[in-house]
Amino acid sequence: MTESTISKSFKRNEDPRLLTGNGNYIDDIDFPGMLHVAIKRSDYAHARIKKIDTEEAKKIPGVVAVYTAEDLGDYWRPGPLQVPPPTAIKGSVFHARPLECIAKHKIRFSGEPVAVVVAESRYIAEDALDFIYLDVEPLQYVGELEKTLDPDAPLIHEDLESNLAADVVQEVGSWEKAAAEADVVIKKRIVTNHVAGAALENRGLIAVWDDNFKILNVWATTQGPIPMRNSIARYLGLMENQIRLMNPDIGGGFGPKIMSSQIDDVVVPWIAMKLKKPIKWVEDRRENFLGTTSERDQVHYAEIALKNDGTILGVKDVFYHNTGAYNPYGMTIPLNTQTHVISIYNIPNYYTQIKMVFTNQMVVTPVRGAGRSHGIFVMERLLDFAAKELGMDPVELRRKNILPPEKLPFRTGVIGQDFVENVLDSGNYPLALEKTVDAIEYEKFKKEIQPKLRAEGKNKGIGVIMFTEGTAVGPYEGAKVMVGVTGKVNIVCAYSNQGQGHYTTLAQIAANQLGVDIKDISVVIGDTGQWQWGVGAFASRGITLVGTAVHQASVKVREKALELASKLLNTPKDELEVADGVVRVADVPEHFISLGELAMRANPTRGTVEEGMEPGLEAASYYGPPHGATGYGCLGLILDIDPETAKVKIERLVITDDCGTNINPMIVDGQIHGGLQMGIGEAFYENLVYDDYGQLVTASFMDYLFPQATDMPEKFEIKHLVTPSPLNPLGIKGIGEAGAICVPACFMQALEDAFEGMDLDITQSFMGPSKLFHYVQKAKGA
């Protein structure tokens, strides 16, 4: 038997191609006669459209067509709602206002599309945008979350009674009772920062209509090829198999690329069919900032009730969630927030209320972290405030309340983004805490090192926080595994790869059953012409769901190979082994038949077959978990702050994470690295800012700052625990978002710790240097 290919750090199959410049990204695709689209976007944040004059734009040489919502006729319609609200939460309210591909009667955010230009080049198309004139009645901008529900607030959707998009209450136990029995109740207003999900590559879509065969070929950077294909089919009245939607190589996703029913997938295919020409739209960075989705903007009124000994009795959290101008993605984000607040500690009583509100801002949909980071931020901040109030060490307070391993699986009683009760499936939370505390030498730092530093006037602080990462939610994914006549293996699925390493990890899973070198396993991801079923890349679910489907399909293929080989080698199945590309008799290895030969034999072209026979060394499989698998971990930070300039240096970063079985530990570490970089961004660099008129001030990388590679700490110290999830045969949990979830809460704890004797009282997840400077000034009483 060959060695297991699971839990090994194979170098990535895809890297030689990508690193030598042989990737094929959306903008690399070109066709003769291709026309280019540019989108006219509104400068107004809120306005009623009176007239859009496109006559002058149409006269520019090289412009082929200009379309507004009026020009789309009956084709124009909002939606569909991409994610419906759960029905399991009694009494919840949800006002669905899905996206409009182009604004027709009203503009609801600055950057909303109002017209498209089709021209011979993107240059000409952009030239024409200047000659499209908007005649509008400007309306008052609605942006401040807590004022959106004021009786005099202008209505963004005028058929609604208010700007309330959803109202959801969930309660476990009784907060009232907890508060009544508590020695201490702490209440804080906590704000999470508005950040972008800016990928290195922006979005793009190419549509080519084949009028002879009535086939629409689409290349798109979408994270959800099947839902996008289905949406296009529904709009255009085509059968699903008349559309072949393909992912080219994709340079990052981080969430916003999951969206469909936007102008690209609704209007660009329509233009391609109308003009019978290849049409390309590739988003530029400015459009990405203005028109693509973003996340994190919440305001929490959070309370925690404790006994004097630190025992938590309950938590109450009422929060505003900014959904932007529309709410096409249902309640995924705020539900994640609700589940993650109480996902680590014993909290017998919990009251949580979402007030999702419409604003005149870009649409909010999941960005890596997706609601989880907010929940963790709120809970961990509450614990820090409580520790201060009770005079306890923050780590001690966590130790006191953390869920012990014997309580897992733990049903939290809170319905989550997959519409079922959140269950913390497995793990050892206290062990993660202790591992990080030991590695970062918490006690030594607090008792020995920090007092010396303070005596020298240095400001260094330590933080330790816990987090969970709800991952791998349903409904399902599927895959097909096939052994070819060459003996090489091919995996097809309609997932989407933006850099996660599936060309390697899925191959590792199949190789483990089929005894083939992973380099001999090719993977097709996101081609609806090759595979029809699936949902998409979100919620850190790829390797768990697609990986499990690949595993199950590989088991079936292995079984098929053994059955056939058993007949051909005249040997019982249990005396055979699959290894090195052959099926052989275990005790007589020279007695073998190659997988390629078996593949030939499995597809007879003459003669007869047995009843029920399924041809080919091929099998498909589907997997859908009953609920998500929850990863978890503990982050420790030591920050060194220059008190004069408020510059912050990360001196040490220690993270312990448990995501179950690591298919490829190197790729797992890579996911943690990338996530941490986003988390550091959220805490110290990244901030989407709207001005008082709803204009996005940070619409370029000159103004929207993210941590570059050169701004990263020299080292991430990563520790692993491996508790296989009981939910799937390989024991996998997701890992895509851990790093992005945990940083801000830990960063703020460490900042507060660095300024001894000052009550910085940080209640927001973004603390750039200028802000920190003013917090310190305020705490000094200056």
Binding site: R122, Y123, E126, D127, D284, R285, R286, E644, T645, A646, K647, Y685, N687, V689, V697, T698, S700, M702, D703, L705, F706, P707, Q708, T710, D711, G768, P769, S770, F773, H774
Partner: protein
């Protein structure tokens, strides 16, 4: 993010370039390395009718020592070439240090020494370095040449005394006096990013460690690079003390710069940075001078 239409000229000699600039007048815009102009054009914030690309004018790219111990740098010399020049690092180590703070290596391979000065971005390093080092700027047009001191060159954000038919051809740096120390201090949000405040300073001492001259250039805290007057007023002829430096730093931060509030920092925070950075810059420059 594609530029508006423009005409493009790529002269291969200086005289051809000057002819073209005269012909185009206000319609023409010089393209050097494109570090700043190209992004501005892609945002359609800059919409020049015609570009005159100096990329093929080889005679504008050189570094030459001058007889008095200074340097003459041709306008098209790439930042990375100046950064790696041995004589520059010997005669003006502070210039090398300054250039290392310009964005990232790939950008310094494109950006040009004279281009950055002529572009006059108030947040750029090289205009401030020219001011600090009292550079003499050679300005050419078809009609002839004129020399402008750096202190007279900058008149506003992205504005200089250059006329449309003129180009900045050469930057001459006079030699640094013996016993001159220098310091570069900057606070920026990202490495290689725009400074929220930055200070470059030189201090020259006499044999008795008294200050002969103290120069402090500030950038990113006003409409163009600023040369503070207080440091030399207070320190000239004096042995520099920590108290005197602190007093200067506080004064300069309060009176000799004009940082506004933007999304990355309040005016108060940025004045505080000037205070801290002027103090650190003068202190380090004095230490360096003593070495």
């Amino acid at each position: 993010m594609k530029p508006a239409p423009f005409d493009y000229y790529a002269p291969t000699s200086l005289s051809e370039a000057l002819d073209k600039l005269t012909e185009l007048g206000y319609s023409g815009k010089v393209l050097a390395g494109g570090q700043s102009l190209i992004p501005a054009m892609n945002f359609r914030m800059a919409r020049p009718t015609a570009l005159v690309d100096l990329g093929k004018v080889k005679e504008l790219s050189y570094i030459k020592p001058t007889a008095d111990g200074g340097m003459a740098i041709g306008t098209m010399t790439r930042d990375s070439v100046v950064e790696e020049d041995l004589l520059v690092s010997e005669r003006f180590p502070i210039l090398v240090k300054t250039i290392k703070h310009i964005a990232h290596k790939q950008i310094r391979n494109r950006g040009t020494f004279g281009g950055a000065i002529a572009h006059a971005d108030p947040a750029a390093q090289l205009p401030a370095a020219a001011l600090l080092l009292d550079a003499n700027l050679k300005v050419l047009s078809k009609a002839g040449e004129r020399w402008v001191k750096a202190v007279d060159f900058f008149i506003g954000p992205f504005m200089t005394v250059l006329e449309p038919e003129e180009l900045l051809a050469e930057v001459v740096l006079p030699p640094l006096a013996p016993r001159t120390g220098a310091s570069y201090q900057q606070v920026s949000r990202q490495k290689g990013g725009y400074a929220q405040a930055a200070v470059i300073s030189t201090v020259t001492l006499d044999g008795a460690d008294r200050v002969k001259e103290a120069r402090v250039a500030l950038f990113s805290v006003g409409e163009y690079p600023l040369l503070a007057s207080k440091p030399n007023q207070v320190l000239a002829g004096q042995v520099p003390t920590a108290e005197a430096i602190e007093e200067i730093a506080a004064y300069v931060a309060k009176n000799e710069c004009d940082p506004g509030t933007d999304i990355h920092g309040t005016e108060e925070y940025r004045r505080n940075l000037v205070h801290v950075l002027v103090r650190r810059a003068l202190t380090e420059a004095v230490q360096q001078a003593k070495k």
